[in-house]
Amino acid sequence: MWELLELYAAFFRIGGMTFGGGLTMLPMLKHEIVEKKGWAEEEELLDYYAVGQCTPGIIAVNVATFIGYKRRGIIGGVFSTLGMISPSLIIVSILAMFLEQFMSNQYVAHAVGGIKVVVCALMLNTLVSMAKKTIKGKLTAAVCIIGFLVSMFTPVPRVLIVILAGCTGIVLYKMGRFKA
């Protein structure tokens, strides 16, 4: 039980102290998990990161689940994940409550208008860096454009678009046309 609480507390600290998510969390994870607790080797952590990016869901949560699972099985994975998401649940809920009440205020509304502009720039930046990471050649470029066009102009569910892309990859591999 003690170790489960320790897992929860460690990931609570990590979740509550890193901004930006994803890769910005790596130094914090390294400090807390590898150096302080000795729960994993650095190389192991990087492996979890690599696999955490190829499994569905939030990368930070995937890494937390891996480490918790390795320590204490399924229940360990659950406690680590709960620790990771608890700060978000508390902070974001409070902020959401606050914003709801103050959005009618002119100043708050102007500030949010300015923040929206920044969010657009940040999103565009995310899009470009994702494109650089995921588009490698004509095939992947075509898939990206098709995904964009289909999600933009047709009501095809996005989940289905993701499934179809995955199936296409497997079919191309089976046909021997595709070397991953």
Binding site: I85, M123, V143, V162, A180
Partner: protein
């Protein structure tokens, strides 16, 4: 009760199909307003602003906010737990066969195409967010040229200036808020 059931179904699906972490959840979150009245597409930009400027994984913050809009504090918990449940299930399944999983050609070849298609989906989401940010301000007036120019400047700064690139997203959010107040965006 039914709102929690729908939150569970939707966010479980998002958790299962959002490959690539936080940003990959955005296209799905922008799709929800067409089926539920939890929030509007134009709210997604606000949600992103809050998620970028608070600690924690962005995808988790977004889910909490979306769930909160749908059903208050319990809604936030329901959405977030539903989002992480697929991760836990998938990882418990593959943890024992980690090597086999990461070397499997089936996994490699399907993910090789899933990743770029998700980038395409994010492209649509970015368009949607631009649309809501460009076409209305606090008074419901249009400021297209001004806003577009500001976005371009911000993007250029993020992409091309190494010092600015390393700045904390929180700094950008604060700068944006000040700019909004001064320019009455």
């Amino acid at each position: 009760m039914s709102v929690f059931f729908h939150l569970f179904i939707e966010f479980f699906q998002i958790g299962l199909f959002a490959v690539g972490g936080g940003p990959a959840t955005i296209p799905f979150l922008m799709d929800l307003p067409s089926r539920y009245d939890w929030y509007q597409v134009s709210d997604v930009a606000n949600m992103l602003a809050v998620s970028e400027s608070t600690p924690g994984p962005i995808g988790i913050n977004m889910a909490t906010y979306a769930g909160y809009n749908a059903a208050g504090f319990p809604g936030g918990i329901a959405a977030t737990l539903s989002l992480v449940l697929p991760s836990i299930i998938v990882i418990v399944i593959i943890a024992g066969i980690l090597d086999k999983f990461s070397k499997s050609m089936y996994i490699k070849s399907s993910f090789a195409l899933i990743r770029p298609v998700v980038t395409g989906l994010i492209g649509t989401a970015v368009y949607g967010i631009f649309n809501t940010a460009l076409f209305t301000d606090a008074n419901g007036e249009f400021h297209i040229p001004v806003t577009l120019l500001l976005i371009c400047i911000g993007f250029y700064a993020l992409m091309c200036n190494k010092k600015l690139k390393k700045l904390h997203p929180f700094f950008w959010i604060v700068a944006g808020a000040c700019m909004g107040l001064v320019m009455k965006l």
